[in-house]
Symmetry: C2
Subunit: 248 residues, 2 copies
């Protein structure tokens, strides 16, 4: 078992939730970090981790997200940078160092970029720091067939990405909740302790329960919570409509 997977599992046992908050807060730049931090405080105990994307990372950078990172640390929630990193090794490592030295616990990367000279360096750096790397294995927007769905050597590329996730020893995979059959395939290809995080529930049309039944470990939920009038109620409804997680 890997550090990140254990942390998520432990949080899930405590909270009975399998939700990862995608803190994609829009609106005026002045208030985004404060609003995201308030969301983390309000939802602690209802989510197992917090993921940030360009809504927060791009305007402020990680140095501008110290308040949010502190809230995650205090609430015991891993903070995941959804950068979909896909650069050469030296640049990926530069990004990882900036993240991991400033309160981030894991990064999402794109295995498309290959191992030698790219992901190998990122994964080694993450291991050294005891931080997480999650690989983007399948997305399901309309154009995804031009990438993840390409047939390479008789098999879909996402299957190769799932194999890379196992062989490279990443902490887990991101697979769209809108494609339960792909979740099932990826689940069968991953190793023990490697988690599947599934975005696409809610605004994007995926079904929470189906994704979990197919083998997803966690649901990444953004707009359905962030843009709800009452984010706590929205999270509770999502927890109820997915699994009632029973600690053994």
């Amino acid at each position: 078992m890997r550090l990140l997977g254990e942390w998520l599992e432990s949080n899930s046992r405590k909270s009975g939730s399998r939700l990862v908050l995608a803190a994609d807060v829009g609106g005026p730049f002045e208030s985004r970090v404060g609003r995201a931090t308030a969301l983390v405080r309000a939802l602690a105990g209802r989510v197992v981790a917090v993921k940030v994307n360009w809504h927060l990372l791009l305007p402020y950078g990680v140095l501008g997200l110290a308040e949010l990172a502190a809230a995650c640390r205090e609430e015991g929630l891993p903070l995941i940078a959804d950068m979909k990193l896909n650069d050469i090794g030296s640049t990926d490592v530069e990004a990882a160092r900036t993240l991991f030295s400033n309160g981030f616990d894991a990064v999402i990367a794109n295995p498309f970029v290959g191992y030698e000279g790219a992901m190998a360096d990122l994964i080694a750096e993450s291991r050294r720091r005891e931080k997480g790397v999650i690989l983007l294995v399948y997305m399901s927007h309309a154009g995804a067939g031009e990438g993840y769905g390409l047939t390479v050597g008789g098999a879909p590329l996402y299957a190769a990405f799932a194999r890379r996730t196992r062989e490279w020893g990443a902490d887990g995979a991101v697979v769209s909740a809108r494609s339960p059959s792909v979740i099932r395939e990826v689940r069968a290809l991953l190793g023990e302790g490697q988690v599947i995080l599934s975005p696409g529930v809610g605004a994007q049309g995926g079904d929470a329960r189906e994704a979990l039944l197919a083998g997803a470990d966690y649901l990444i939920v953004g707009r359905s919570i962030v843009e709800a009038d009452d984010p706590v109620r929205a999270a509770d409804a999502l927890i109820r409509s997915s699994f009632a997680f029973t600690p053994p």
Copy 2:
């Protein structure tokens, strides 16, 4: 002809240079923006554009790079965000808005993510704002064969990416300077006015002159200039060793 291509060409005619500065400044966070800004001031007239990657974007975010963006604007240099964007459309557009409202003129994206629901949205947003989108067509690190070099439908994936660049109407393509033969292939597939930017000269081993002869329009140079004792001399040497550009 597209806005970004015309801008680069105009700068190149004025300066006799085909260099794009990759302002990958490392070291203590406190001094990176100041050092990058000083580099831009010192190299204005010797480079045609400035590209920033995670060294600057990730710690500070675009709001923290206002000084650098102002220097680029004052020196007439387009500022390019090398994010290798590869997300769904709504997230890509969110990133583009943040960039384009804060002094950035173009973004680099990964065509792997496909058109519908992804790049279509980014390119439309960029057109609306009269900003640039450059697609990452070929990288040449050791593991690149697991992505760009995959054979799909009997042809290498980078050829499909070059065709996407033309069909989608992007401003240009990034192709590694270390692969002149790929530059030649991509050149033949791109449309009129679409530029090729080639990184990989210097520290990564690519030959400037060969890349330009193969069809690259501009060389993206980072470490060879940024880490030189005298960046201005290093840039001048690179300009001399590549093309003596002669305005017609």
